[in-house]
């Protein structure tokens, strides 16, 4: 009995969720996400090379990475003509996605460029 009630409640919830769900084209969404990942990866590599050449060590490099990613976010917003909701379903897509993966490439190329320029 209880199980039956639960299932009916969840069914009701899910139908409500379907009603509330905004419809959008998933393929275009995926294309947009691919564009964002591409931009972020490339710019974190370039940012890593620049941080290495400038000779940043320790915390300054990470601050530089945050700066680069903030500029990238602004650039992506400008590319979306500042109407984010017609290209993405939430703000997090444009601000946060690809951040951690980019950080790893950043650290790799940061140490690489620093070693080449300042140590060897």
């Amino acid at each position: 009995m209880a199980g039956h009630n639960d299932s009916s409640v969840s069914e009701k919830k899910s139908s409500q969720a379907v009603d509330d769900l905004p419809t959008f084209s998933a393929e275009n969404m995926q294309n947009n996400m691919k564009v964002i990942y591409y931009s972020r990866t490339f710019l974190s590599i370039i940012g890593g090379v620049i941080a290495g050449i400038l000779g940043f060590t320790g915390f300054a490099g990470f601050i530089f990475y945050f700066l680069i990613m903030a500029i990238t976010s602004v650039g992506l917003m400008a590319k979306a003509k500042f109407s984010v909701h017609s290209y993405f379903d939430s703000w997090n897509r444009i601000i946060l996605d690809g951040f951690l993966g980019g950080l790893l490439s950043f650290v790799l190329f940061w140490t690489f460029a620093y070693d080449i320029v300042h140590i060897f």
């Binding site: 959008f24 084209s25 490339f42 710019l43 370039i46 050449i53 400038l54 017609s86 080449i116």
Partner: protein, 106 residues
């Protein structure tokens, strides 16, 4: 695509030149027996220039954003014609004479 790619390549070349001049500056400092305090001015300018060029390339090369809203102009054509089951050639409307025929008769 082509222009953005070329701009990105130019940016990377500028960055590598900045790296090379920093290496030369370090060897000069080693000869003069001074400590490295920061990169010289022309290197900083080159780095900024390279960053701007690469930023532009990174924002243009991957392609344009496509609108995800179902009611925009790009998404107006839904994929029904792609599914052959939904194609209809015969329907009951053809037994009624169309307005065009009526006009021709009159």
């Amino acid at each position: 695509m082509g222009l953005g790619f070329v701009v990105g390549v130019v940016g990377v070349v500028i960055l590598s030149h900045a790296a090379y001049s920093t290496i030369q500056y370090r060897s000069l400092l080693k000869i003069m027996e001074e400590e490295f305090s920061g990169p010289p001015m022309n290197v900083v300018v080159e780095l900024l220039l390279g960053l701007v060029l690469c930023m532009w390339a990174a924002l243009t090369v991957p392609g344009n954003f496509l609108s995800i809203k179902p009611d925009t102009d790009e998404n107006r054509m839904v994929s029904l014609p792609g599914n052959l089951d939904f194609m209809i050639f015969n329907h009951r409307g053809k037994v009624f004479s169309s307005e065009m025929d009526m006009k021709l008769k009159i």
